[in-house]
């Protein structure tokens, strides 16, 4: 991995003070016990010294990589950081998914020394997940050398506004940035692949899936980019999820790029998958396979994205494959707990496309299936719970799944499951009581799958961690 040539000067006294106060506020937040202080230090420091983000982004000798998209940011960031670590580069990252400006500053302020400098900065790389709506503003300030774009689905329309405005913001940011980053793009998502048109001169590395065996037999309802920029409807040779697949426009000729990093075969299993990959083209093509300990096609996509980013940064396939096989789950994303003699798996689902993928993971498992489904309606979850009607909960009908509904909007979820033909056995808004009921419904030695929106996941995770004797999230995540 080559070293970036950017130079940095030490922070000003004001910036050092801001970092110091930021760290103090984190200590206080953790002492109070409710929060990991993954955002507060950034809020404090960023308010005192707004230039901090530019200053700090210049420090890592290997530059900054960003990861954005609707789904998979945290896991992809986690996997890319693991690959870099295996390749001898110390990643500086925001592991708890705090992905706004304040989260990035907090990640920095947690790793600087008394002079406000990142120790051993020459050997480090920033690897940051960035909120999809915040990326346009942050790109000119972070000046990443590499930017990963995963996918774009409908998500929390009450918060982000319309899907189109997110894509337009990305395109504008890429057109305006002085030196465009190397783009790592999902070839299979037309709204992502088309970003290459907006970054002239940028190096582009694409990733995608070329395996008809994992294609859907009929399209998901939650499909958000079915029309080309020219106005025609895309034609699909294969659809893998939502509007993601092997697409082309019959009118203007826009077509899915041939992926530089291609999954030729994906063997999906209950607890993970084997992914056979070809990297590069022609005589220079290399093939390898890796064992991914995360279930579902969406996890394979995240791993491909991390592999493509690492490949673009010059890491070798042996390092990539072994790091992916050894990386555990990211926070709240397929984490596993042993509670009361049951194996509990925690799956975050916060929008229709994500929930559809999680439901597919559940239905791969052998029966009996026991599910604790949790729907909250906080700002971070989306205050509008309509989105559960865009997900295909009908996938669980006929599986004999035992379902317990919980969360602030447990009643909305129970109604949705009943309309899908799989009414819940109980509806219990309170987290602890619902967890008790779901564990009681799970056979000893069996597995309970907990599917939860963001704040519900945070709640139930701390209950699971306490019962399983695992540390709080800022201790558990590396």
């Amino acid at each position: 991995m080559s070293t970036a040539t950017q130079q940095s000067s030490p922070p000003s006294p004001r910036e050092r003070l801001a970092l110091l106060l930021g760290r103090a506020s984190r200590a206080i937040a953790r002492r109070l016990g409710r929060s990991g202080g993954t955002a507060i230090p950034g809020l404090v420091a960023g308010a005192l010294a707004p230039s901090l983000i530019e200053r700090l982004a210049l420090q890592p000798g290997h530059g900054v990589a960003t990861v954005t998209g609707t789904n998979g940011k945290t896991t992809t960031t986690h996997l890319l950081a693991a690959i870099l670590r295996a390749g001898g580069v110390d990643p500086l990252t925001n592991p708890s998914g705090s992905n706004l400006e304040r989260g990035l500053i907090a990640a920095y302020s947690g790793s600087v020394d008394g002079r406000g400098l990142v120790p051993r900065a020459d050997a480090r790389a920033g690897v940051f997940e960035v909120d999809e709506a915040a990326l346009a503003r942050l790109m000119p300030r972070l000046r990443p050398r590499l930017a990963v774009f995963l996918n774009l689905f409908r998500d929390q329309l009450d918060r982000y506004g319309e899907v189109d405005s997110v894509a337009e913001g990305w395109a504008r940011a890429l057109e305006e940035v002085q030196t465009p980053p190397t783009l790592v793009l999902n070839a299979d998502d037309p709204s992502i692949a088309q970003l290459a048109e907006h970054a002239r001169g940028a190096r582009v590395v694409t990733f995608g899936v070329d395996d008809d065996a994992v294609a859907l037999t009929h399209a998901d309802h939650a499909s958000d980019a079915r029309f080309c920029g020219c106005g025609s409807r895309f034609t699909y040779e294969a659809i893998y999820m939502g509007h993601v697949g092997r697409w082309h426009c019959p009118t203007c000729g826009r077509t899915r790029p041939v992926p530089d990093v291609s999954a030729r075969r994906i063997e999906l299993r209950e607890d993970g998958s084997t992914v056979h990959v070809a990297i590069g083209h022609g005589a220079e093509q290399q093939t390898f396979q890796f064992e991914l300990p995360l279930a579902g096609l969406y996890s394979a996509y995240n791993a491909l994205a991390a592999a493509a980013a690492a490949y673009a940064l010059g890491l070798d396939v042996v390092t990539i494959a072994s790091a992916l096989a050894e990386a555990g789950p990211a926070f709240g994303r397929q984490e596993r707990f042993e509670v009361a003699g049951r194996r509990v798996r925690l799956l975050l689902a916060k929008n229709p496309a994500g929930l559809n993928e999680v439901l597919r993971v559940l239905t791969v498992a052998a029966p009996p299936l026991t599910v604790l489904a949790m729907l909250n309606d906080g700002v971070q979850d989306g205050q509008d719970v309509s989105w559960i009607y865009d997900a295909d909960l009908e996938m669980l009908a006929g599986t004999g799944a035992t379902i317990v509904c919980s969360g602030d909007r447990a009643d909305d979820l129970a109604l949705r499951f009943s309309l899908a033909g799989c009414p819940p056995v109980s509806v219990i808004p309170q987290t602890e009581r619902a967890l008790d009921a779901a564990l009681a419904r799970t056979p000893p030695g069996g597995r309970l799958d907990v599917v939860a929106t963001y704040t519900a996941m945070m709640d139930v995770r701390s209950a699971l961690a306490r019962r399983a004797g695992v540390g709080a999230y800022w201790e558990a995540s590396k």
């Binding site: 329309l157 309509s386 009607y389 009643d411 909305d412 129970a414």
Partner: protein, 270 residues
């Protein structure tokens, strides 16, 4: 035993009832989960012993000769631009259907385009189908979208309290030929200014409410099914039996609690 059988809804004794439903542009106007309305309609109609025949009509497709119920959902500006002319060309037929008491439910972006016209956030003027005498203007940058939980009281008798979620930039104003579908108790409604929510013309309803709307408003759902049956069977159509909807009623009550907690109680702003 015989008594029990006689107590069953008449549908088990007579020929099975059915309604014809047209869904408009459900592959385009589908980003705000309004397909929940179709899911709930199918499930509830089945409980009433009513078959539902759905015809999906999208860009370039002709309308069928007749129908009992028309559904259209919401979409973003992009999707509205895509369908506006195609939909406006169906305007005469849709207006005739509304006059013949065909039941309709047009949500959000679909409601806006069932009006006379819609000027979107970019200033583009989109033609409407003219089913409702309403006009919509998106005031553009600098104006907040109307986003949040809504409670409203339906004007039509028997439907009562409605719970939903609105998310729209456009402000809709009723013309002299329109009457509101509901009056806002919490939230914004048509424009946040006059307390009206949606519009109606005979059995056709336009509204801003997602949620999805029909799953958690079973009284409105039954109202639409009954209206569609009246169109199909004529004025002697037998009323629907009263059947409980426990999941829907609990979800409705939960949504009402949430709206009262975090939406503004409606009051005139000007």
């Amino acid at each position: 035993m015989t008594n029990d059988e006689q107590a069953q809804p008449s549908s088990t004794q007579h020929a099975r009832r059915s309604i014809r439903v047209v869904t408009l542009y459900d592959d385009v106007m589908n980003v705000y989960a309004d397909r929940g309305n179709v899911i709930a309609l199918r499930a509830r109609a089945a409980e009433h012993g009513v078959d539902v025949e759905v015809t999906s009509v999208s860009l370039g497709d002709p309308l069928p000769d007749d129908t009992d119920l028309v559904l259209i959902g919401g979409g973003q500006d992009r999707e509205q631009r895509r369908i506006a002319e195609d939909l406006a060309a169906h305007g005469p037929r849709l207006r005739a259907w509304a006059d013949e008491n065909v039941a309709m439910l047009a949500i959000c972006g679909g409601y806006q385009l069932f009006g006379q016209s819609y000027r979107d956030g970019t200033g583009a003027e989109l033609p409407g189908a003219g089913v409702f005498d309403v006009t919509t203007v998106a005031p553009g940058p600098g104006w907040a979208r109307c986003i949040g939980d809504v409670i409203a009281t339906a004007v039509v008798p028997g439907v009562g309290e409605l719970a939903g979620f609105e998310n729209h930039g456009g402000r809709t104003y009723l013309g002299p030929g329109a009457r509101p579908f509901a009056m806002v108790d919490y939230g914004y409604g048509n424009n946040g200014d006059d307390g009206t929510e949606g519009a109606q013309r005979n059995e056709a309803i336009g509204t801003y409410l997602h949620g999805s709307l029909l799953p958690k408003n079973p009284a409105l759902l039954d109202h639409l099914i009954a209206a569609a049956l009246r169109h199909r069977e004529g004025p002697d159509s037998e009323p629907l039996a009263s059947i409980g909807a426990p999941y829907a009623e609990r979800a409705h009550a939960a949504a009402v609690q949430v709206a009262k907690r975090r939406s503004r109680r409606w009051s005139r702003t000007s």
